[in-house]
């Protein structure tokens, strides 16, 4: 109950943030040269017809004043109407919904990979601080952090797809193979291995560094000394007392990094031609489909807010001090 109330409050507090983002985005797009109608006419080829343009503008409500358009825009969003994509010829909401599952799958896979491997490596490094394991792991972390994800993706394709031919170079699944059931799951999994590694790499580096630092920090705290004075061996000191405390900053980080990860998926999905939200955003920019772009921004912001909500729940479960009114 305490946890839910707290998370609910946080959720309510993020509403103004969302409004702020959307208003900002909307105004930003007002500055953009050309509007939906221009894009539409461009798509239809030619487009010199001023009367048709005016007609279309009236149809889309683009002839109204900026505040009125903003009000309209918010009203449509409340009804979850994200507008119409001139490029794809269907409602933006539909386009986004088709692409969302791929991105969610990729993100959860990358997050789990980064979180757990980062956790394990961070603990290993902290256990033998300044020893050779620590040096190796820390160096690896630094290199991973410095590696541009798209480049890592390309090199992985060269090695694993072109030379070794172990894994597919791109796509979400084997189109036309007609796999079903478990076979299809395995096929998708094979396609997602490289994208997951690519997207997760930088986060792995971040998590391992935070986990190491956090472990070292917690190891200096008084209750660890208490645990040792009780006669616990080092392994139990770590598992029973240090680990959970050291994980708290990692959990916070998931929320903070949710947005960055979504941003990263733009690049990764482009490298591996995955039909996800990120690739859609890229296409929208290239094709100047601002309606779709704005819709993606809206959905991404929602997604980040939801992730943060979940993170708050997890955090509050891990830390009894949260919401105790301190």
């Amino acid at each position: 109950m305490r946890v839910l109330a707290l998370a609910g409050r946080r959720l309510a507090a993020s509403l103004p943030t969302l409004v702020l983002i959307l208003a900002g985005m909307f105004l930003l797009l007002q500055l953009a040269p050309g509007d939906t109608v221009d894009a539409l006419l461009g798509q239809m080829g030619g487009g010199g017809d001023a009367a048709l343009a005016a007609e279309l503008r009236r149809y889309y409500g683009l002839d109204l004043s900026v505040p009125a358009q903003l009000a309209n825009y918010f009203w449509r969003l409340v009804r979850l109407d994200l507008g119409f994509s001139a490029i794809y010829g269907k409602p933006v909401a539909t386009v986004i919904l088709e692409r969302l599952p791929t991105t969610l799958l990729l993100m959860s896979a990358a997050l789990s990979f980064a979180f757990f491997v980062g956790l394990v490596l961070g603990v290993l490094a902290a256990r033998r601080v300044n020893g050779w394991t620590d040096t190796l792991i820390s160096t690896l972390g630094l290199v991973f952090y410095a590696t541009p994800s798209f480049w890592f993706g390309l090199m992985a394709i060269v090695l694993f797809s072109v030379h070794l031919a172990w894994l597919p170079a791109g796509g979400f699944e084997e189109i036309g193979a007609g796999y079903t059931g478990l076979r299809r799951v395995l096929d998708i999994a094979a396609h997602l291995v490289l994208p997951t590694l690519t997207l997760g790499l930088i986060f792995l580096a971040i998590y391992l560094r935070i986990m190491r630092a956090s472990m070292l920090e917690v190891l200096t705290l008084d209750f660890v000394r208490t645990a040792r004075a009780k006669g616990l061996d080092e392994t139990r000191v770590l598992t029973r007392h240090v680990l959970r405390n050291a994980m708290l900053p990692m959990v916070t980080l998931i929320g903070l990094q949710a947005g960055t990860m979504l941003g990263g998926s733009v690049v990764v999905e482009s490298v591996f031609s995955l039909p996800g939200l990120g690739r859609l955003a890229y296409e929208a920019v290239v094709q100047r489909d601002l309606n779709t772009l704005l819709g993606i921004v809206f959905i991404s912001a929602l997604l980040v807010i939801v992730v943060n909500f979940l993170v708050d729940l997890v955090y509050a479960r891990l830390d009894p001090r949260i919401g105790a009114g301190r």
């Binding site: 480049w151 390309l154 090199m155 060269v158 072109v162 947005g259 941003g263 690049v267 955003a281």
Partner: protein, 277 residues
């Protein structure tokens, strides 16, 4: 200062980082001297492997341009974007964070809402929107990278200010009758700055990565020799001539690594408490 320098130089990774960074700076400075021609002009037969032709030690790309020249000139672009965007982000972040942290109350609330809005938005997505709206020449891209990177330094500065604000030495200044502006800038800021300066290295690393990703997607300025551009170009010939993408990628990796190592070295040297840990 001297003690700080000694502490910095005692750490081998920090020294390696500094040397690497100096090499990259040297590359950027000497680009015009080694490669006086436009790095984007046709230099020879396309797709020559590195070492195949002594004139092109790193080979040529699919348009027949000298890869080595692009790497040297690209160092300029990366460093320039890194430094300028970082200055924008950190400068903005410090001002916002300092105001929010020192004043608290509604100023803090309002500024933090805006910061939160920026953090809720995936930064790369915001970067795409900015580029889509304002175009993709190098100045716009630099400013845009800076504009999406300021929330983290702002939060850090705010946290520092919040913890310093109620420290007894700040209270002592108030009991002496000192004005707010003087307390913020002369007393608190110098104490809040070191962690923010260290964090600037992270911002710079991310800025370089962001620009290269943008260039890779061909959404950055196509008229400058950017490492990201070259990787994007090399993608078309990835299956066989993978070196076209591989070489500039290594350049980015080394640069970001150098910046991170220097940042970490600064951090360790500025926090003697953590030394030897």
């Amino acid at each position: 200062m001297k003690r700080f320098l000694l502490a910095y130089l005692k750490s081998p990774p920090a020294v390696i980082g500094l040397v690497l960074l100096l090499v990259i700076v040297a590359m950027a400075l000497s680009a015009d001297w080694f490669f006086p021609r436009d790095p984007l002009s046709l230099a020879g037969r396309p797709l020559q492997w590195p070492g195949a032709n002594p004139r092109f030690p790193l080979g040529t790309d699919n348009s027949g341009r000298d890869i080595a020249a692009q790497i040297f000139h690209g160092a300029r672009v990366s460093l320039l974007i890194g430094v300028v965007a970082t200055s924008i982000a950190v400068g903005l972040g410090i001002v916002v964070g300092a105001l929010a942290g020192y004043h608290g109350g509604w100023v803090d609330d309002a500024l933090m809402r805006v910061t939160e809005a920026f953090q809720t938005l995936p930064n790369f997505l915001l970067l795409l929107v900015l580029v889509a709206v304002f175009g993709s020449d190098i100045t716009t891209v630099t400013v845009a990278v800076g504009a999406v990177s300021w929330p983290a330094p702002a939060r850090l500065t705010r946290a520092e200010f919040l913890s310093l604000r109620n420290r007894e030495f700040v209270q002592a200044c108030r009991t002496l009758g000192m004005g707010d502006a003087r307390i913020i800038f002369r007393e608190v800021l110098p104490n809040a700055l070191p962690p923010v300066i260290v964090y600037a290295s992270v911002v710079m690393a991310v800025a370089i990565l962001l620009e290269s990703a943008l260039a890779f997607l061909r959404l950055s300025d196509p008229n400058v020799a950017s490492w990201g551009n070259l990787i994007g170009l090399g993608r078309d010939v990835l299956r066989v001539q993978w070196y076209v993408s591989a070489i500039p990628g290594v350049a980015i990796l080394v640069t970001v690594l150098a910046v991170s190592l220097v940042g970490q070295g600064l951090n360790d040297a500025l926090n003697p408490r953590l030394r030897g840990r």
